[in-house]
Amino acid sequence: MTVTYRVRHKTVYGYGIPVTLSHHLARLKPRETPYQRVLSADISMTPEPSCQTDETDAFGNTATFLIAETPHREMTIVSEFTAEITPPVYPDPEQTPAWERVAAMTAHPDTPELTAAAEMAAPSRFIPLSAAAKAYAAPSLSPNRPVLAAAEEIMRRIYRDFTYDPSATSIATPVDETIAMKRGVCQDFAHVAIACLRAWGLPARYVSGYIRTRRAAEAERKGEIEMIGGDASHAWFSVFVPSFGWVDLDPTNNMYIGSEHLTVGWGRDFDDMSPVKGIMTGGGRHTVSVDVGVRTVSPAKERR
């Protein structure tokens, strides 16, 4: 059963002093995945950019290169796309290979696919090797535990042990600190899970995207738990399962990604998938406000 979504992600930057020139790299356009078909994707920016080009980055994501040459105190980037999701089918966690085997395969890759996976087992800028993560993950990595069962348990434990708290962390909060505080947001939880898996030699990557949130009232009425992470972009992690591929897990909501997750792209950590990076001339102090809307649309209507 496929679902079609329309996503609108608007970011407004306000600057204390005018920005006379700026260069940006936006990773906002969604990529195709086995479960996601992209029907349309557009990015617009004010002031009108003097240059806007899409490029494919080293991990296969779309990066939009933008230059603004008109002096401005406010910049708006709007990303709008329509994508069709077919809920992924995952392997039975208990039937996946033992984690030790996966770690050994990753340490000595002998196919291009494993080499690419090995790249995701290495430490990265925001996820350096972490002794704290290694210790935290240890109970879930009992001998011969199937890799996906272990990853799933790590996800559940993070969901149980960590508190969602946007005030606790910033973009730059190190993984060790998040583990010590047991607080953070989706991006921190993803980083923690990745650090846990990599500490034991397992490939794990950072996934950036969106989740469809339900209004609190609606959740109440239906007696469902509200999904956290709305009104902003979302993030989760993905673990490599040999002979199957990558399996995405969302530690913020304690679930495998399903028909309500939209994937923009992935990388080693947040740094590879930062939605908008920029280098400005001028600007001074700045403010950011983000507005994300995810809604379902009738597929027939969209296609027309």
Partner: protein, 817 residues
């Protein structure tokens, strides 16, 4: 032949003796040199050594190059057959590293085939995945390459380091050669070492060849990108820039627009074709290559990806320098070549493997240890056990010893050799020479001579290089980068701002400490009000004695506190930083005066007398600076921007002072016009002109409209117009500065139209408050905003190049999208 001078046949270190064989005989390839240079004992060599050092430092182009380094009068001599073997090994290694880079930023077959473990590449900060999609168009990753080698006791050369990212040393090698051949022409002629200049010519050809592949339609723009331009454009960089006839620039001189990278010149953006870079990979593009740094050229990777600029070396070469590769180099060589290395590579062990880790831990004391990025570290055994994959250990070579002159005597010193290669016609060319590093009490960098070559140096090329190192190219074009112009402009503005603030502070502190009876309270209140108007002090009624006393602490902070945002402390340190950035544009004396300003600031808690003494000293220095700038600086375009900055700031300051009149009047008292005249250095002029008590219209006329007063606003504006007109004329581009000139003309017209008698109602009694007309303030605000408009326009179009209404001819916006 037994060696005639005192020199050990066996070196105490047990290292290979380069000069004397174990039987006491001088090795044959050194004979010619000592036969010629040592005929009359060592005195001549000692004298020549002195001359070499003098020539090297006299020619040193920058402060950094003047640092103590001996250059050694005795070259390191290699026999031709040995060099031939070395060359073959070096070329093989260069090709190997080129292949490694192409593979790791491509298919990564070295990893998939198990030749190298993934952990040494992935997770290594030297590996930048973004570059997988920004490979050099022709697949050549290594265009320049240098290798360090040491000779082991068994007589074999071992490679100990690879310099791939910014392989430096060619400039110094050529310089060494020039100096030695000048100091000892006869010795040089009889020894006739193989020539090195053709290598340099080849390099020049390569630079142009790269440019042609980028765009064959016009004269290519080639720049040298330096990370060190701030304080120490190294000798190397300066040499390259001069002898290749290219300009040395800073990343801030470049900007990416559309799919190209441009040099920001004051008259527009010039497309750049080739960048000879002396900046590490991670510092080339803050947008894509290193999220934690602001250094670099935003978007440069994008331009590389589009194939519109050639970098030498291309981005990514930093990966070739990681020491872990040396631990696997034999396997890599067999993988690519099916053969062994010609030149042995020093033994290295990556601790991510159990056996290797054990060996390293057991031999830790005798090994050099690096972290995965190549930084030398000293880990404990526990550190290695905790994160073994982070460490690489390398064997130490008991390096050979070669003769150096020390205190008039010959002595043996451990020596490391650097060789350079350049990509040419599908393979590499080795320079027939290089640098020998000797670690004595003063480290020396000596010339390497390849002996036994019958070919005489190519005098035509040598002459050209000689000329290039000695003559500065004549500037025939309108060449001034925006960064230099911008810095000069702000140097001028801050210099003037500092002068004005120091003078103002001196007057007010002086008055305030003269004792309760003497000063007119309005004098101080006027100046404090001006300081409030310019944002330095809170708005208060400064006729109140308590407010005045409170202000004293603030004044001291403005003068001296590092915590106060825009006071003298800030201004002086900023001036010093800018003078550093402009060190090659300022005379040594000028530069030193800038450096002297910050230390003159008193402790913010010092008493008023100390403050006054220091302020007096500061003002003296500032006057000296102004004098030097006026008298000593060449009137080139960079000076013109400094002058523009000064004049504009002085104009702004005059407006600020005059605003005080209106402000005081609104607060019910008469501004002390006498004090305002004093602060603006116009009291004498006023007395000469009027010989009467100052009145608002006359003071206004003197400070704004009187074009015979060098302190008047109109005078500043006319100077601005004069300088901008020169720029406009010499740029040979019509209407380049039309907007700035139009603003200045309108300011001049506004000033000429002022009827000063209309600005204030003169009172009969001086104790009565003068009624300032509303027009007074409107007029000042109008002038201020026009000067601001002038500054903004200049900034956008000359420095930032962001104003979309005007671009240089080469930058066609319509083509970009």
């Amino acid at each position: 032949m037994t060696f005639p001078f005192s020199y050990p046949a066996v070196c105490p270190t047990g290292g290979y003796n380069e000069l004397v064989a174990p039987d006491g005989e001088i090795r044959p390839h050194w004979r010619v040199f000592f036969d010629a240079a040592g005929q009359n004992g060592l005195e001549r060599l000692a004298a020549c050594a002195d001359q070499v050092d003098r020539l090297m430092s006299a020619d040193a182009m920058t402060a950094a190059a003047r640092q103590k380094k001996a250059h050694g009068v005795i070259p390191f001599i290699l026999p031709a057959d040995e060099f031939e073997h070395l060359s073959a090994g070096l070329i093989q290694r260069a090709e190997l590293f080129n292949a490694i880079l192409r593979d790791l930023y491509g298919k990564q077959s070295l990893i998939t085939n198990g030749v190298i473990p993934p952990q040494i590449v992935f997770g290594n900060p030297a590996y930048l995945p973004a570059l997988k999609t920004a490979r050099p168009a022709d697949g050549v990753f290594l265009r320049e390459y240098a290798v360090d080698a040491e000779r082991a006791p068994d007589g074999r050369f071992w490679i100990v380091a690879d310099k791939a990212q910014t392989p430096e040393g060619i400039g110094l090698t050529i310089k060494n050669r020039l100096v030695l051949s000048r100091v000892m022409p006869d010795v040089y002629a009889s020894a006739a070492p193989a020539r090195i200049y053709d290598f340099f010519e080849s390099m020049r050809r390569q630079l142009f060849a790269c440019a042609l592949s980028a765009d064959g339609t016009r004269v290519p723009m080639i720049v040298l990108l330096s990370a060190a331009i701030k304080k120490k454009l190294s000798f190397e960089e300066a040499f390259f820039a001069r002898s290749l006839g290219i300009i040395a620039i800073d990343p801030a001189d470049l900007t990416v627009r559309g799919d190209r990278v441009y040099l920001k010149n004051i008259d527009g953006l010039k497309p750049v074709d080739v960048i000879l870079r002396r900046v590490d990979d991670g510092l080339c593009d803050p947008l894509e290559l290193n999220g934690s740094s602001m250094f670099g050229v935003a978007g440069l990777t994008h331009v590389v990806r589009k194939g519109n600029v050639a970098l030498i070396n291309p981005l990514g070469t930093g990966l070739a320098e990681i020491p872990a590769l040396r631990a696997f180099i034999h396997g890599i060589c067999r993988h690519f070549n099916g053969a062994d290395l010609i030149l042995p590579s020093v033994a290295a062990w990556w601790c991510g493997q159990e056996k290797e880790k054990r060996y390293v831990i057991d031999h830790l004391a005798e090994l050099k240890v690096y972290d995965i990025t190549g930084k030398k570290v000293r880990p404990t055994k526990d550190d290695i056990e905790t994160a073994p994959e982070n460490y690489v250990a390398q064997e130490r070579v008991n390096a050979s010893l070669s003769p150096v002159m020390q205190n008039g005597r010959l002595s043996p010193a451990r020596t490391r050799l650097r060789f350079h290669l350049i990509y040419e016609n599908g393979s590499y060319r080795v320079m027939n020479g290089g640098l020998a590093f000797t670690q004595t009490n003063v480290p020396s960098l000596r010339d390497i001579w390849v002996a036994g070559s019958a070919v005489r140096p190519d005098s035509a090329v040598a002459g050209r290089i000689r000329a290039a190192t000695q003559t500065k190219p004549v500037r025939t074009t309108f060449e001034l980068t925006s960064r230099i112009a911008d810095n000069m402009y702000w140097l001028g503005r801050n210099l003037e701002r500092g002068e004005q603030l120091a003078r103002l502070l001196r007057v007010v502190i002086e008055r305030a400490t003269e004792g309760p009876e003497t000063p007119e309270p309005d004098d101080i209140a006027t100046l404090l009000s001006v300081l409030a108007l310019t944002g330095h002090l809170p708005f208060k009624d400064y006729r109140d004695p308590q407010a005045r006393r409170d202000a004293m602490t603030d004044l001291k902070n403005i003068a001296a506190s590092p915590d106060y945002g825009f006071g003298l402390h800030y201004l002086f340190n900023r001036l010093k930083d800018m003078a550093d950035l402009l060190h090659d544009r300022l005379s040594m004396d000028t530069w030193e005066l800038f450096a002297q300003l910050p230390p003159l600031l008193p402790d913010p808690k010092a008493n008023a007398q100390i403050f006054l003494n220091r302020l007096n000293e500061i003002i003296l220095r500032q006057n000296a600076l102004s004098g030097l700038i006026r008298e000593d600086m060449t009137r080139d375009h960079s000076w013109r921007f400094l002058e523009i900055g000064r004049r504009l700031e002085r104009g702004m300051q005059i407006i600020n002072l005059l605003s005080g009149i209106d402000f005081c009047a609104n607060n019910g008292f008469n501004a002390s016009l006498d004090t305002l005249l004093e602060t603006s250095d116009s009291r004498m002029t006023y007395r000469v002109r009027y010989m009467s008590v100052p009145t608002v219209p006359l003071v206004f006329d003197l400070l704004v409209c009187d074009d015979g007063n060098p302190r008047a606003l109109i005078y500043q504006v006319m100077k601005l117009r004069q300088n901008i007109s020169v720029l406009e004329r010499e740029s040979r581009m019509p209407a380049l500065f039309s907007k700035e000139l139009a603003v200045l003309e309108s300011v001049i017209a506004d000033i000429k139209a002022i009827d000063v008698m209309n600005l204030a109602q003169q009172t009969r009694d001086l104790t009565e408050t003068v009624a300032v007309n509303p027009a007074f303030n409107t007029l000042l605000n109008n002038l201020r905003s026009k000067l601001q408009e002038f500054s903004d326009s200049l900034t956008l179009s000359c420095f930032v190049h962001a104003d979309s209404t005007r671009q240089g001819p080469a930058y066609n916006k319509g083509k970009i999208k």
